[in-house]
Symmetry: C2
Subunit: 169 residues, 2 copies
C-alpha cells in the first residue's frame, strides 16, 4: 500500500469513527491529520489538505484543544499559530476517557443521587420498588466505573491495562 493511500485511509477511518463518539467527522479528520504529521501544522495547511472552510477548521481546532488532545504551539519568529496532536496514543486514550467521564458519567451520578428517596404518591409499591432498584443499581455501576477510571487515569493507561490483563487472566 502506498503512503498517500494509507494516509488518506487513516484520515477517512478516523473521521468515520469519530461520528460514533459525538465528535464531528471533520474534527476526527483534522485530528488524524495532526497525528500523522511529523511537524505542527497551521490552519492554512489543514484547509489545503482537507478542503474544508477556515471557519470549520478554527472551530474544530478549538474543540480539539478543549478535549486536551491537540495543543497550540508557537514557533519562534513565526506569526502563525501551529497545532500539534498528542503523539502518545495511550495518553490520548486516557485524556479522552477523562473528558468523557467528566462530561457523561459524572452527570449520571448526580442525576441518580437526586432520584434516591422517592415518595410513593399514586404509585403501587411494586412500581416504586422497581424504580428504586433501578436507580440504585445504576448509581452503583456508575460509581464503580468512575472509581475504576480514576485509578486508570492516575496510573497511566499502558501500565493500568497491562497490570490488569496480567492479574485477571
Amino acid at each position: 500500500m502506498k503512503y498517500t493511500e494509507a494516509r488518506q485511509q487513516l484520515i477517512r477511518t478516523w473521521g468515520q469513527l469519530s461520528t460514533h463518539w459525538g465528535i464531528s467527522r471533520t474534527m476526527g479528520q483534522i485530528h488524524a491529520l495532526l497525528m500523522v504529521s511529523p511537524d505542527p501544522m497551521t490552519s492554512d495547511q489543514i484547509i489545503e489538505e482537507l478542503k474544508i472552510s477556515r471557519g470549520n477548521v478554527s472551530m474544530s481546532l478549538r474543540s480539539l484543544v478543549e478535549w486536551g488532545i491537540v495543543h497550540k504551539t508557537f514557533i519562534p519568529g513565526e506569526r502563525k499559530e501551529y497545532f500539534a496532536s498528542e503523539k502518545d496514543v495511550w495518553k490520548m486514550a486516557l485524556q479522552i476517557a477523562r473528558e468523557r467521564k467528566r462530561r457523561e458519567l459524572d452527570p449520571v451520578i448526580q442525576s441518580m443521587q437526586h432520584l434516591q428517596a422517592i415518595n410513593p404518591d399514586s404509585a403501587s409499591a411494586r412500581e416504586v420498588d422497581e424504580l428504586n432498584k433501578m436507580t440504585t443499581q445504576i448509581l452503583d455501576v456508575a460509581m464503580q466505573v468512575d472509581k475504576m477510571l480514576d485509578i486508570g487515569i492516575r496510573s497511566g493507561g499502558q501500565t493500568f491495562v497491562r497490570k490488569l490483563i496480567s492479574v485477571l487472566r
Copy 2:
C-alpha cells in the same frame, strides 16, 4: 420527590444521555421506561406513555433487541408481543460493552492491520515513519483494550471491576 416526577426524570435523563452514544433519544427513553416497569409492556403502552409514533416504537424496539438489552416475551394466551428490559444493570453494561467492541473497536483493528507495511512512494522517510508509528500505536492500544474487554466480559462486570479496583488501588 414524587414517584411520577422521578420516573419522568429518569426517562428524560436516559434519553438525553443516549444521544451521546449513537443511540436516538427515543430509544433511550423506551429503554428507561422498560427498565423501571415491573412488567413487560406492549408497544401500545409505550406509545401511550411516551407519545411517540407506532413506527418509531417498532423500529426502536427492534434496535434495542439487536443490542441485546431488551427481550421479546410472549404471554400465554395473549396475542400481542410484550417487551422487557434486562434488569441487571451490570449485565446490561457488559452487553453494551460487548456490542460496542464489536461495532467500533474490531473495525479499527482491522483497518490498522491493513495500514501496516507502507511503501514510501513520494513521501519523505519522516512522514512514512510518523504514519507507521501512529498506526502501530493505535493497533497496540486497540488490541490491548480489546483483550481487556474480553476478560471483563468473560468474568462478568461486577466481579471484574471489584477485583480490579481492589488489586490496583
